[in-house]
Structure formats: C-alpha cells, structure tokens
C-alpha cells in the first residue's frame, strides 16, 4: 500500500519501479524471442531518451569530461622550462603539493568557503521564510529585489566592494566617523573582506532554493506544532527546518562548491593573506607557466568539490532506499 501511495507522490520513483521488472523480463528472454524485443515499448522509449539527451551528453563530454581527464593526466607529467609539458610521467608535482604553504592555503580555502556557506544559510533561511509568507503582491517584489543584483556584471559589483572597503572608501570613512574602527585598520585585503564579498555574491543563490522549498512548505504544520505546545523557535527548528531540508541541501551545494573554486573575489579583495586555491592555480598558469603544477592543484580541488557532492548523493540514495524498504514492510 505504501508503494502505491508513493507512486502518486513521486513520479520519478514510480517510473523506475514500474519499468524495472518489465525490462528484466525482456532482457532475460532476449535470446529466445529477439523480435519481440525490438517492439518493446520500453526499449523504444529508452532509445528515444538516449537520442534526446545526446546533444547534452556530447556537450558535457567534450567540455567537461575530456578537459577534466586532461587536467588529471597533465598533473602526472613533468613541466618543461618553456611553459609546456614535458615527456614521461612523474609523481613529483603531486608530492610537491604536500608543503605547509599549500596546506595553509587549502585550509583557508576550506574555512572561507564553509564560513561563507554557513553565513549565507543563516541569512537566507529567514529571508526565504519571510518571502514565502509574504502576500502575493509583496512576494513578487521581494523576489525581484533578490534578483536585481544579477543585472549588474559580477566583476563590476566586486569592484564596487573594493572601492567601498578602500581606506578612502565610504564604509571605512563612515566607520571611522562613528569611532568604530581606528584609522590604522584596513578593511580590504584580508580574509574577512573575502568572506564579506563572497556572502554578498552567493546570498541570492541561497535565498532562491530556500524560498522555493519554503513556498511549498505547509505552514499549517507550524500551527500544529504551536498548538501542541512548541514555542515559535521550537516549531521553526523541529518542523520548518526539516520541512525545507531539500532546499537547505541545494543551497549548501550551490554556495559551497563555487566558493571552493572562487578566484576573482579573493584576487580583487583578498590580498596575500586572503589567497585561495583558485588564485594559486592562476599564478601557476600565468606567472610561473607551470601547467602540471596548476593541473595538480586543480585535480585536488576537483576532488575536494566532488567528495561532498558524492557523499550527499550517497546519503540521499540511502535515505530513499530505506524509505522504500519501510514502505514495503507489512
């Protein structure tokens, strides 16, 4: 019964569940009754699915998979003095990454990204919540406000921050006038400036998925929790947050992964103390002209990005599976 119910709710699962047993039987009999297979509507549909996704797959293969594989391959090649790639294979480049200076930058990349993500989530949850609860008229306006920054070039906006945080800039002068900072304090070229601008940049990307989840959330559940004795904070934590968990997860990934690979923001407002892995890779390519070294760094970064993604996907699949198993239990 649980399974039937699920079908109605999640077409994705039902489709898979519905087609799998059928496919198995047709595969099993393919040796005996091959002609029957040709007109199997499921196989036919599969072929159609392949055809329609072919352009996307080609694109992804050419511009994502092949370059990534190349980066991984080059990481194991020696560099030559002319900025090219030498012959043979070597592990020296990978080994050379294990130095305190790189580890410090890797660590900084990680904590800046995590801190940015956490701040974004903390700011976005109340924003998404209040946009979802706003009246129809206001919802559109508020969403518009979230989207408006996208109309200005990203680079221009980061430059704007640079001038705002500049020793002669508006924010610095205002804080000085209020006596909150001394004249010696610099707001620019440090990790704090990087985090500030990254939060600014990624906040809309966090608000949107959280708003989408909150908008679908049934707020009567919050009422039910309040009715059962929960304070508004308890209802928020125990009912609302679990209710928008998918949105939170999306928001996390959408910020954390690009943050790990960010280059422009630390380059413009970070200074030497705010450098991240992205800056190091650029330096290896443009300043040192050492492609294997840059590739090795990139490979590490790609793995660092993929690891949380794969972990999350695996967790989700596990959760889904256990749900289905429970649904089938009598």
């Amino acid at each position: 019964m649980g399974r039937k119910r699920r079908k109605g709710i999640d077409p994705d699962i039902s489709q898979k569940r519905g087609s799998e047993p059928l496919r198995r039987t047709s595969d099993g009999r393919s040796s005996e009754s091959a002609p029957g297979c040709r007109f199997d509507p499921i196989l036919k549909r599969r072929r159609a699915e392949w055809l329609t996704s072919l352009p996307t797959l080609t694109w992804l293969g050419l511009f994502v998979v092949v370059p990534t594989v190349l980066v991984f391959v080059i990481a194991f090649r020696p560099a030559n003095p002319y900025g090219g790639i030498g012959g043979g294979w070597t592990l020296d480049t990978i080994r050379s990454l294990w130095t305190p200076s790189y580890l410090a930058i890797a660590w900084r990349t990680l904590w800046i990204s995590l801190l940015t993500t956490v701040i974004c989530l903390v700011l976005a949850v109340p924003s998404g919540y209040s946009i979802a609860r706003a009246s129809e008229k206001w919802r559109g306006r508020l969403l518009m406000l979230v989207i408006i920054p996208f109309w200005t070039s990203f680079l221009v906006r980061v430059f704007a921050w640079k001038s705002l945080l500049h020793p002669e800039g508006l924010i610095k002068k205002a804080l000085e006038a209020l006596g909150l900072v001394g004249t010696a304090t610099t707001l620019l070229y440090n990790p704090t400036a990087v985090v500030l601008v990254m939060v600014y940049t990624f906040l809309p990307f966090t608000i949107l998925p959280i708003y989408a989840a909150a908008e679908k959330f049934d707020f009567r559940l919050v009422e039910a929790a309040r009715d059962l004795g929960a304070s508004s904070a308890q209802a928020f934590r125990r009912v609302f947050l679990p209710g928008i968990s998918r949105g939170l997860l999306t928001a996390f990934l959408v910020v954390f992964i690009p943050a790990l690979g960010s280059y422009i923001i630390p380059d413009l407002v970070g200074g030497p103390s705010g450098e991240m892995l992205g800056n190091k890779i650029a330096q290896r390519v443009f300043t040192d002209r050492n492609l294997p070294h840059a590739s090795a760094l990139s490979a590490v970064l790609v793995l660092a990005v993929l690891a949380p993604l794969i972990a999350v996907l695996a967790l989700q699949r596990k959760a889904k599976k256990s749900d289905i198993i429970m649904g089938e239990a009598p």
Partner: protein
C-alpha cells in the same frame, strides 16, 4: 456544570469580511459542542480564536474561568485536530504522537508509555514506525486525534476532521470519535458544515451564519423548533408558506390566513397576535400523503394536491405536490412496501395533511432566505425560482 470555554462579545474582521460578529457563547465542561454552518459563516474563525491562532478584535475568550485572550497557542491547554490533519511528514507515527510530550520535556519512559497507551486507544500499535504518507486517510485522522489527546487538553478542537474521508469511513470515524469522547471525557468543540455529523455527535449545537450565532440548542431542539428561517432551512428540508395570523380561537392554536390555503391551523408557541405577518414552516416528513381523503379531525390541516414530481429514494419517496398554488415537498417513509399497491404517480390527485403541532411559525424572515419560500408561479419541470 458551569461554563468552561466562554466567548464573550467576540468579533473578528479579515479585511472587508466580518468573520465573527459580536458572538457570545458558553460551552460546558465535558460537552460535545458543535459549531454548524455553511462555509464562510465564521465557525472556523471561532475555533482559531479558541486555539489562539487568531486574536479577537473585540471581546474576550475564557477557559475554565481564566482569561486566555492574547495567550499564544502553546500556552493554552487546548489542542486542535486540523482538517488536513497536519501530521509532521518527516516523523513516524510514534514521533508525531509523542511530539507534545517531547516538547514538554517529559521523561523518556513516561513518553513511551503514554504513546503506547494512545496507540492502543486508536488501535494502531502495529503502525507506529510508519511515516504519515504511508497511512490511509482514516489512519491519519486517528493519529491526529492521538497526537492532540496525549497532551490531555482541557478542550479538544476539531476542524471538520471528517471532511476528507469518504462516506463509509466517515460514518465509522463518527462512531469512533463519539467513543473517544466518552472514554476521555474532555470537552469537544467540533466545527462542521455537515448537519448529520453535528446532529449525531453533539450534546448541543450552535448554528452560525454570517459571523453570528443563529441558535444554540440540543440537536432535537434545533431541528424541531428553529428560531430563524435560516436555521429552519439549513437543518433538514422544509416548506415555507407566507401569511398572517387570522384569529386565535384558543390560547394554544391559531388560524392562519395564507393566500390560496384557507383555514390552516398552527400551534402558537410564540403567543402571536391576530394580524401579525408570519411564515409557516412544515417539514416534509411531517406531511402525510394518500389517495384517500383523510378523516376530519380538530387541528388537522388537509389539502387536495396534484403530484408534480416523484423521486424514489429507497427508504423513502420524495413528492413535489401542488396544493393551493404552492409547490410543497412531502417525504413518505416506506414502512411496508406492497407490490400490488398502486403507487402515486405524476399528475395523480391526492390529499396531504399534517397536524397543527407539526408546523411552526416564524415571526420574521431574512431577506437572504427569501428563495426558500414555496412560491406559487411554477409549473412542472420548471426550475425552482428560475434558478
């Protein structure tokens, strides 16, 4: 028993809509009390005012002698069963039921025992590990009941809890709710638009319309002596005839002047005076119908009639007849069915009669209920009042 949950002069407005308009209502301890009315009559707002989801613009709400106006929902010893059940989708049945006790930080062992007891009460001990989306409608409903009752509220508020269920299940849950009310003995405030639900469950009913209470009373009282035309028309079916009091030969009965229907008598329970305009209401099941002319008796009103429509409903038949120019509906219960009986058919001539005690007079009539009047100018097959 004294009043337990009390609304005193409560009003609530949403924008241009006056949802609740100066309502005073007292509900006794242990009572099964229903708020009955059409959608938009303000009954759900009353419930939300009791739960604390809304605050009244004017008036106060009292619970057990304490003013609870302004208290947030979590500070009121009142729990709600929502129409949509509002079960927490990410929690199991057990965790849903335990929610109130977990929030109240009760000891683990106690929570486990209490939840087990509740699962026993709703007969779902074997479903405790399921998530709400694996349950049927009836099961969800029972979990919602258990989740609310486990907090031992002073008042249980039920917001159309059976509306989402199909007929058979609704009848079953109706009995179950009644049993639960008997077992736990707490006050139930039940909101519904379904008169059958309200009638069968309630100790008392308040009929609401347009943000006001039209009448409060026991189910039989509401049905048999409605105070307003709205109540008469909303609860069950009825025929309305417009006229005035002609004479009151004795203290109990008076003769009415209704155009086209001379000499109708009615019990005068409102001590109306001759000359006063009235509306006579007669329930269709109180009217007898037969081919033979009935015996003449004092206080018996009888009229010749022509059958215009016959609607066979199994346990009874509904006749639309024309008498004195009025279209009147009559129910006939099939106590015994004779195969050789010559049934009344379309265009047959027949007699209808009812006792003067079975009609009741309303001294005023709301403009909005005018289309409920049995008006003359209609022919067979023509829709009622051009609707």
């Amino acid at each position: 028993m004294a009043e337990f949950l009390e609304f005193r002069g409560v009003s609530k407005r949403f924008g241009a809509v006056q949802a609740v308009n100066d309502v005073s209502l007292e509900i006794k301890k242990g009572e099964f009390f229903s708020l009955l009315g059409p959608s938009g009559c303000g009954k759900t707002t009353m419930l939300r005012l009791a739960a604390g989801f809304e605050e009244p613009d004017a008036g106060r709400v009292f619970l057990d002698g304490r003013d609870i106006t302004g208290l947030p929902p979590d500070k009121r010893k009142v729990n709600t069963i929502f129409q949509s059940y509002a079960l927490f989708p990410h929690m199991t049945v057990r965790d849903n039921i335990a929610f109130g006790l977990i929030i109240a930080k009760r000891p683990k062992a106690e929570i486990r025992d209490e939840v087990d007891r509740m699962l026993e009460l709703i007969r779902m001990a074997d479903q405790a590990a399921k998530k709400p989306d694996q349950l049927s409608g009836g099961q969800k409903q029972r979990v919602a009941v258990a989740r609310a009752l486990i907090n031992r509220p002073d008042v249980l508020l039920l917001d159309e809890p059976l509306a989402a269920l199909d007929l058979k299940l609704r009848q079953k849950m109706l009995i179950e709710l009644d049993l639960i009310h008997d077992q736990v003995g707490i006050t139930f405030l039940y909101v519904t638009h379904d008169q059958a639900e309200a009638m069968s469950l309630s100790d008392r009913i308040a009929v609401m319309d347009g943000g006001r209470i039209e009448q409060v009373g026991a189910p039989a009282e509401i049905y048999e002596s409605p105070r307003t035309s709205f109540v008469a028309a909303f609860i069950g079916d009825t025929n309305f005839l417009e006229g005035r009091v002609e004479a009151c030969p004795d203290r109990e009965y008076c003769r009415l002047a209704i155009a086209g229907l001379p000499g109708i008598h009615c019990f005068n329970d409102k001590s109306l005076q001759p000359g006063q305009p009235i509306y006579l209401s007669i329930r269709p099941e109180k009217i007898h119908i037969s081919r033979e002319r009935p015996e003449e008796k004092p206080q018996r009103n009888y009229l010749p009639a022509v059958i215009e429509d016959v609607i066979y409903l199994g346990s009874n038949t509904k006749y639309w007849v024309r008498a004195g120019g009025y279209r009147i509906q009559v129910f006939r219960q099939h106590a015994r069915y004779f195969l050789d009986e010559k049934p009344l058919r379309w265009k047959d001539e027949a007699w209808i009669w009812w006792h003067a005690d079975d009609g009741f007079m309303l001294d005023h009539f709301r403009k909005a209920d005018e289309d409920l009047l049995a008006v003359p100018p209609q022919s067979v097959g023509e829709p009622l009042n051009g609707k």
